[in-house]
Symmetry: C2
Subunit: 151 residues, 2 copies
């Protein structure tokens, strides 16, 4: 019996980058604070970082400012990308580097600058990335370790 073939690490990386760079990409952003928090947010992939835009007073922003870590999931549950990331930078939207704000607006389907009051861009640097579809792809799912792609 021949089961489904597992993708190579290079294929998984290419598929992961396709998800991260897709127009209007969304991710599930999990953070820890007073328990686990989880929300869907638009994501942009800018200079090898995941960038999110959200209210500074939101639970996710406050958790990230506290713990400086998040786990971000992309894709449907049977074709997943999981990114463990650390908070590298935070910028008030109104004062953000113009090239960051432009790149975010270019990928996303909204522009936080239109409603900047109280919003921040949070820049998340990936440390570990896992990508798998189903059980046959669990082996070999880690495609970035300690901030470095394995391929």
């Amino acid at each position: 019996v021949t089961g489904p073939e597992a993708r190579t690490a290079a294929e998984r990386k290419a598929d992961t980058l396709a998800k991260l760079t897709a127009p209007a990409a969304d991710g599930w952003v999990a953070t820890a604070g007073d328990g686990a928090h989880l929300v869907p947010l638009s994501v942009a992939w800018i200079d090898d970082r995941i960038v999110i835009a959200l209210e500074a007073r939101s639970v996710t922003a406050r958790n990230l400012t506290g713990t400086r870590t998040a786990r971000v999931a992309l894709g449907p549950t049977r074709d997943v990308v999981l990114v463990d990331a650390v908070l590298e930078a935070s910028h008030d939207v109104a004062a953000a580097p113009p090239e960051l704000a432009e790149a975010y607006a270019a990928q996303s389907d909204w522009d936080p600058r239109a409603d900047a009051d109280g919003y921040v861009f949070l820049v998340l640097r990936p440390q570990r990335v896992q990508a798998w579809t189903e059980v046959h792809e669990l082996a070999g799912r880690t495609i970035m370790r300690a901030g470095e792609w394995v391929v």
Copy 2:
């Protein structure tokens, strides 16, 4: 200009139950421990509880045993259900109530009893449920509070 219409609370509840009871339903399960953890897992809806089956030694099971709380997301990112739940019970799969194991296997596309060694069923009791599609549905998104449906 007429925007998209927001669903009523009753419609959101019906759509939520459809997601929870769908064959082979999956959820994103966020827990807190040493940072935020997030994984996709099969879910079953049994007696108004979310039931998951997983290795007792997994990060998710250990976090849940520690904090006794999880946040579970279902649906794509623009048609979401978010369930804040508490751990109500834990059963080793091999020793679980037969009706629980039967109900899980009936909804899921796998039967944990086939590979029971080291696996547990965790029974999660919803406390708060939110359901929304996009911005126009943010108002009215909470359809369960303190364990009670609002409709």
